[in-house]
Amino acid sequence: MGRVAIVGVGQSVHARDRNDVAYAELLLEAIDEALDDAGIGLSDVDNAVTASLDFYDGRTISNMAVADVVGSYLKPESRICSDGIGALLYGWARIADGDHRIGLVTAHCKESEGNLATIEGAAFDPFVQRRLGADADVVAGLGARQIYASGAFAPTDAAALVVAARAASAVNPKVTTLKSMTVAEVLDAPRSATPLGVFDRAPNRDGSCAVILATEEVARELSDSPVWIAGVGTATGRYWADRHPGDLSALDRARDGAVAMTGWGTDVPDVFEVSAQYAHELCQFATHLGAELTEAGGSLNPSGGRHAGNPVTVSGLSRVTECVHQLRGDAGPRQHHDAQRALAHGVAGLGAQSHFVAALEAGN
């Protein structure tokens, strides 16, 4: 199994409404930046793995509308309807097993174009759940109540992460700067589904992300500082309604699977980029990955994470992108010390059912 490097990353600007671009054009912004970062052209890419969701794009098999911008005509293109970090794992496997040399991994979503309540509602079982009109907020509210009742975390823990994410948005050029808030302001905001308030949910956004993977041989030609994918892991947990929200067996398995592939031993990663749509989930996921919540904005989510403003599907791949900047030392004002090892995390599904972890490292 060959080593796989990340040789280029790019993102569009993520904003509430990118109505200036169609979704293929939005994705092209990220791809152009990633190709430029890698120093290659689109025709150098020999395969693509894309992440997107038909319901958000508003058309069936919506990845076909990005086939030209991802350069996949007459090349292998696969698409996952999940978080883009899942596409990264897929793209990693293609190169690790020796079939391909340079792969493009993309994710895009415009949460502004469809009716989110209808789209989220369609995820529910039509017989026993959908008729009751729940959405992601309701599922998260049920979960947050159980998490807070268990005493594992308190609403103030979650609110502090929201505050840190909003502060980080000011130093992340790929998101729009959010109004700064205090913990009290987050806690006093209108409730969506108790105990959650409107700022517990990450803001809805339009955005895209692209990552270019390469074999070790190609990576050494292209870059003096490739970032290596040292390990990957993913697992899907039980359906949300059948599982206590504190049961993060799937995340634990994904983490253990990824870390077991590395040579890190007991060394703690320098940076954790963790994806969660709701702030209480971020408390849980970050802790399970080994991060300190007090480090939010430092070693935990220096980018601000999804609460700084990334859409569904894209968020996990955005976490990878930030880890790459941190490991290359080019994260600018967000740079966290001399980062050498990082964990990037993504999540998908109602009630955070599926988890993905990529262990990334700098050096030779």
Binding site: V21, G41, L42, S43, D68, E113, N115, G121, F127
Partner: protein
Amino acid sequence: MSPTPPIDAALRLEYVADFEYSYAAGKFASRFMDALRTEARIQGTRCDVCDKVLVPPRPVCGLCSGRTVEWVDVGPSGVITGYTVVEVPFIDPMTGFERPIPYGFAFVRLDGADTNIYHFLEESRHDKISIGMRITAVFKPAPERDGTLADIIHFRAEEPAADE
């Protein structure tokens, strides 16, 4: 213990949802539609690498992964590269009304273009339509055009077929 009992009638659950979207046309489709509306012009983009002209216009050439850098006028005439005559009624999404049948529907290679668009034909008689036949776009009058593909009513024979 009791096994799952047989059912008398299989349950079906009807579900109606209104999936509303507000699609952003983006930079390329917006300019394409604007040229249709304001000037009755059909435009494509030329690939900087393979020189092919792509209609409707787009930023990347799927054929060679080159970028398009130039906007060019195409048509309004071209040739039929494929056609069908539709004989099953359906609601025309551009008007919201049932489109009278039969009607012709064609792939059209506009003059100056290297890709096809498809659109309605004025003609619906099989013996009056053929692959390779030259046709031209019929636009709505300027005041009626609204910047959609419906600004082209249909394509008709460049030389009207003689009545038999």
